[in-house]
Symmetry: C2
Subunit: 413 residues, 2 copies
């Protein structure tokens, strides 16, 4: 008899009919003898509806009160699923974050979980009840409701799975699993049967929206096996877990495309210590995440500094950078929204050389110019003109994923 | 500097525009220097929407889970009002029942308040914040959310006012105050400036829906002055408080009409001790409230027993009564939905004789037959054929309320 934590996302509980379908699924799993903890998101659209109400009343709604407001979405889902499970004759009970002492800091809207007290859950599981938990929320030291950030019902599920030492944490969503590329853009994309935490982190960070980044980090830290599955069918899904030998045989697990970046360039920056800190300090202080940073080789003591930020942040970034550029005597600032970041991810890169070189070759064959390059142990990212983004993605998918012969570039070419 | 508890009902916070209007009102009151606690209901329609979701999933939804579900309505309102107050530059903070330890029993759906810990509210008021509280909800000894019954945000407000020893509890609604009769049915009805707790209790119990019955009982017990006002205009409203000398000069404060009763008659009941208990025991056990009970004078050892119940309960009542009637050898059971209860209420009756007689005279003049009569210290109720209900109400209003000469029947006629 195992202990399973299941999490159902907004589309999975998006209507009373969908909640009925989820209850049937839980009921079937329960009858196989497992102990079950179910974490639910708000019904699809509900969180946005609540945020809209707040923004109708205030341009910048207070974060504490916004958390009181939006946390009701998950509360409603949890109660409704519990009601439906009971209608099926399955003993069930719902809990909110404060009842399970899902303790967080007071960083409203993006609080971090500090601890969970699983005693009440354990007790209810021992009474053979299905425990339904409102995702996305926590409680701080003052007893105030906090929320954990968008998509963070995944985090609630993983944290509970870790605290309960669950056998598996199943994330139910509206896609079948993790794909080698976005199937909407890349027709040859196929579902991965298995993927390592590290690869999933790179994929999540690079724009694959299947799993929330922080939840994968937490799963890796506590070694919680994840399964990403669809609640709309019986397909197997993708298993996310610790890297093993067989994974290294696969050079590239996935290709990602991020069309939501902008490139900012500061030209004629004097090439002396401390200037990078002057430039990026204020950006970080403003809470803007800088992704890739490239500093060109210095010519006559001056250099160009180029970096990418999320497109939503580009206006604020330019304001900050233009001020600094003037102070440090840079010659100019320019930005470019017409960029796309294309990446290949795979733990196999750790043990196989020449992957980046092969990637550049594939793009060159398509006559796609590379504007920026960044690499990590298990990832190579390039920035290209956005009009070539999808082409680059498909070409790389063909070369690395679809074409088995390319799995070992050392042997090919 | 006073302490004011204000409660805003569902229509008063029924949209973001309405919430803005309420915030303006609170803001104006606050600027007069008072400390303010605001209790809010769910936005109009929201509680019904949530109940509907539950009933889509289960014919008889679990009461604990239903409370988790429907309590979100008030939570949303509290957060939104707090957000709007802050947008106006007024420091505000919202609280849920568990944060103020509004402790109740575990009778989900109609829990009773056992105690309130006002410490956190007092602290926030001393920091000059407006405290916004989600009405209608409590928390039981297990830490589970309870609700106090329909309309019970009034109760939350009165209980808080009592715990805080507030100077006044203002109940904002969509009517101007308490009227001498339902203005929709009785064109000459006028708003009362003052009314005693006892009269208000009789009026509330008799179908005037302005104030929830239990909240008036609580206000009387703790001597909390109530003011019923409209949030849609600046009209003065009605003050509800302890009876004083001047109130006794007014013979009849109001006339009420209840068109929602049914009459049940058991004929040929043997006239011996214990049979009333046999009849009404099972009805009480089924949670059905019996209002008026009349036993006709016995003829040849047999009597007729007539009583009224809420029309919604008549079918269940008949099932129970028919079974008992057979057991005790009564000759028959019949029911009549075509009845109306008309009542006159006033503390002046305590000190003035002849009010009931005058009432019967007024009805006789209109050729209205009286089917049942019941009296209390400050009330006379009659049951008449429902088609005469409104006529009876208007005639009694003309005679007792509108016509000043009738205020002292001892002197008139």
């Amino acid at each position: 008899m195992g202990l399973i934590v299941q999490k159902y996302g907004g589309t999975s509980v998006g209507s009373t009919d969908r909640i009925k379908a989820v209850a049937d699924r839980v009921s079937n799993a329960k009858r196989r003898g497992d102990r079950m903890v179910i974490v639910v998101s708000a019904m699809a659209g509900e969180t946005n509806r609540l945020f809209k109400l707040a923004s109708d009343l205030c341009d910048a709604p207070n974060a504490r009160e916004t958390d009181v407001l939006v946390s009701t979405g998950e509360q409603v889902s949890a109660a409704l699923l519990s009601i439906r499970l009971q209608a099926l004759g399955l003993p069930a009970i719902s809990f909110l974050a404060d009842q399970l002492r899902i303790a967080t800091d007071s960083n409203h809207g993006r609080a971090r979980i500090k601890s969970i007290d699983p005693a009440r859950v354990v007790q209810e599981l021992e009474s053979d009840r299905v425990v339904v938990v409102a995702g996305y929320q926590g409680v701080d030291a003052l007893g105030d409701i906090t929320t954990l950030g968008r998509g963070a019902s995944d985090l609630t599920a993983v944290a509970l799975a870790a605290a309960l030492k669950a056998d598996v944490c199943e994330i139910y969503t509206d896609v079948d699993g993790v794909y080698t590329a976005d199937p909407n853009l890349c027709p040859k994309a196929r579902k991965l049967r298995r993927i390592s935490y590290d690869e999933m982190l790179e994929m999540a960070g690079l724009g694959a929206k299947v799993l929330q980044l922080r939840s994968v980090e937490l799963a890796r830290r506590y070694n919680v096996p994840l399964v990403v599955r669809s609640s709309f069918n019986e397909s197997e899904g993708t298993w996310v877990g610790q890297e093993d030998q067989s994974m290294e045989d696969v050079l590239v697990s996935g290709v990602t495309l991020d069309q939501n970046q902008s490139k900012v360039t500061i030209t004629g920056v004097e090439d002396r210590p401390g200037l990078a800190a002057r430039i990026f300090g204020p950006i970080a202080a403003a809470g803007i995440v800088v992704d890739m940073i490239i500093q060109n080789a210095s010519a006559d003591g001056r250099t160009d500094m180029t970096f990418t930020v999320n497109r939503d942040d580009v206006r604020r970034t330019l304001e900050l950078v233009q001020r600094v550029a003037k102070e440090i005597g840079a010659t100019g600032v320019r930005s470019d929204d017409q960029v796309a970041k294309v990446s290949i991810v795979g733990v196999g890169m750790r043990t196989h050389a020449g992957v980046a070189a092969k990637m550049f070759e594939v793009l060159a064959d398509e006559r796609i110019n590379i504007e920026m390059i960044a690499t990590s142990e298990i990832k190579v990212s390039v920035v290209v003109n956005s009009k070539y983004g999808e082409l680059a993605m498909r070409a790389l998918h063909d070369a690395f994923v679809d074409n088995a012969a390319m799995q070992f570039p050392g042997e090919s070419a």
